[in-house]
């Protein structure tokens, strides 16, 4: 940091002698810096974020009203709402992408919340070997998503993958997994569930660990069974953690990109079978150079994310 920090030892010794004032008297920049510490501390981070954020946002909004394509530097024409009309009436790529984004997000969220809660409840009370399982659930979480995608590509390979081999042993399959037009999206959801269920479990576990056992025990004495205790006692108490997990996972699931790109490549596969809004916007931007259309898709996508966040947080206030 370039903020000059007054040496407290010498500064205090030098000035306290000169006056009875409890604080060392200051002059110039140091005094100014100390009086404006609030903004001095916050400003660099805010300026950096604003610089990296505001230009892109304004630019994206601007591009969405133009026919920008080919090169970003190429002359653009203002075409009003044409892009919005075009995108919103596009039942070929846009609306299927919206559908896939929602199916993907809702699907992985439901499974991750349920499984994550089960794992958290399982780990709530200490037992032998607990350390091992905590390590095991941490590994998927910190693994590089692109590498995870490659790993599952081999496991789910229809011919040489162990998934079909193992299912074949019990008389199931073979399934096409990522290669199937109908099964690809569900398979990528499985991968996302593998990687991020541990995250939900850890957040909920942190919430559960902070609860006291007494309420639960009181409910048990009153004759509540296990399910009733979970539903009427534990769940309401741990609800703030559930909302945090839903928000964090929800935002990231809507924006999932790495796993989809690693497993299916550009455009979400040859039939766009895993093309979500994020993958579609990426393709429009960097494969087709349709910057105007891409910006329009992105603004609508952003609106969807904000709407989802507001929906989740307003539910919290009701409770």
């Amino acid at each position: 940091m370039s903020v000059p920090v007054q040496n407290p030892a010498s500064g205090a010794a030098g000035t306290v002698n000169a006056s009875d004032h409890p604080r060392p008297s200051q002059s110039g920049f140091s005094s100014w810096a100390n009086r404006h510490r609030k903004w001095l501390f916050a400003a660099p981070a805010m300026i950096f974020t604003a610089a990296m954020l505001i230009f892109p946002l304004v630019w994206t909004v601007y591009l969405s009203f133009t026919n920008a394509q080919g090169s970003v530097r190429a002359p653009k024409k203002f075409i009003g709402l044409d892009n919005y009309v075009k995108v919103l009436t596009d039942t070929d790529r846009f609306w299927p992408a919206v559908g896939r984004t929602l199916v993907f997000t809702a699907g992985v969220l439901v499974v991750q919340m349920v499984l994550g809660m089960c794992i958290a409840l399982l780990l709530r009370r200490a037992f032998r070997g607990q350390g091992l399982i905590r390590v095991a659930i941490l590994l998927p979480l910190v693994a590089t998503p692109v590498a995870v995608g490659m790993m599952w590509r081999l496991i789910f390979d229809p011919n040489i993958g162990p998934a079909n081999y193992l299912l074949g042993l019990i008389g199931l399959g073979p399934y096409p997994w990522l290669a199937g037009e109908k099964t690809a999206l569900a398979t990528t959801m499985l991968i996302d569930i593998w990687q991020w269920t541990p995250m939900v479990a850890l957040i909920l576990l942190a919430g559960l660990t902070s609860l006291s056992d007494e309420v639960d025990e009181a409910a048990a004495i009153d004759g509540a069974n296990t399910w009733q205790r979970f539903w009427w006692v534990t769940l309401p108490l741990v609800w703030p953690s559930v909302v945090v997990a839903l928000l964090l996972r929800g935002i990231d699931a809507l924006k999932t990109f790495d796993i989809l790109y690693a497993t299916k490549g550009r455009g979400g596969g040859s039939f766009h079978e895993v093309e979500t809004l994020n993958v579609y916007a990426y393709g429009l931007s960097f494969d087709y150079n349709e910057y105007g259309l891409a910006s329009t898709v992105l603004i609508l996508f952003f609106a969807l994310i904000v709407a989802a966040m507001l929906a989740l947080t307003s539910r919290q206030k009701e409770r």
Binding site: I119, L139, V142, T144, M151, I155, V244, F257
Partner: protein, 271 residues
């Protein structure tokens, strides 16, 4: 509470299932990275093979992964360090002076889809002749690191009593001096958590490097794609590459397990 015998048996089975589900896929990746492609195509020979280092030889000699690993490390380390310098004081100010609105602006960076930033960034930084260099990668990764650091540290500072700092000021320190000599040393666990998590997120980041890096500066997650050809996939090489990308960061995370967990679950309890 006493646990019934039935529950303990159920718990044992559940734990075994979780361990298998989490670890077997990773083990398969590592195992395959020591196999030739012929051995990978033979699904029945799971353990029955002579391990070969050929794939790793390919990854480091032909595909130049040593260089890409250095790139990943450099970008993660520098972007984390600069973000800390910007983020620690900012998190402190935003927590102490309850700058909710300012904090929301910075946290919006977490919500916005990365693609919407990449087109303007690409335009801006290619005009500045920065695309393909380390600088632009570091800046883009800072954009991920800074909100993360703010999010974790604001929670940490919220829990730190303001009296500590007030006492230091009564004892004659300036307000910046109190931050430097009292608050900062006490915040080391929080700062460690934030930097470890920020390093992991940067190492794993893919999309920004995919667009903004060049042949010389590409990071490991981008370099993996060198093993996917149009016609066929070199599975042995691909699995070795994937292992080289992800094993170091997994070992790193296990080493700092406590910090990683506390960072990932930051904000979970307060809500």
């Amino acid at each position: 509470m006493r646990l019934s015998r039935g529950y303990r048996i159920f718990r044992g089975i559940a734990i075994a299932l979780i361990l298998i589900a989490m670890l077997v896929p990773l083990a398969w990746m590592v195992l395959s990275s020591f196999k030739t492609n012929v051995q990978i195509y033979d699904t029945s020979a799971v353990f029955n093979f002579t391990p070969t280092l050929d794939n790793y030889h390919k990854v480091f000699q032909q595909a130049n992964f040593g260089k890409y690993m250095w790139n990943s490390f450099l970008v993660a380390a520098v972007s984390t360090s600069i973000s800390l310098v910007l983020g620690v004081p900012a998190a402190y100010s935003m927590s102490r002076f309850v700058m909710k609105r300012q904090a929301i602006v910075v946290l919006m960076a977490r919500v916005i889809p990365g693609v919407s930033l990449l087109v303007p960034w690409y335009y801006l930084f290619s005009n500045l002749r920065m695309v393909g260099g380390y600088g632009v990668l570091i800046l883009s990764h800072m954009f991920v690191a800074l909100p993360l650091i703010l999010y974790i540290l604001m929670g940490f500072f919220d829990g730190m009593p303001a009296e500590l700092e007030e006492a230091a000021q009564v004892d004659g320190l300036t307000s910046i001096g109190a931050f430097w000599h009292v608050v900062l040393p006490l915040s080391m666990p929080g700062i460690a958590t934030a930097s470890i998590l920020s390093f992991i997120f940067s190492w794993n980041n893919f999309m920004f490097a995919l667009v903004l890096s060049g042949a010389e500066t590409k990071t490991l997650p981008v370099a993996i794609f060198d093993f996917i050809g149009y016609a066929s996939i070199d599975w042995g090489g691909l699995m070795a590459a994937a292992s080289v990308v992800t094993l170091p960061i997994m070992v790193f995370a296990l080493f700092f397990q406590k910090y990683v967990v506390s960072g990932l679950t930051a904000g979970a309890v307060k809500g």
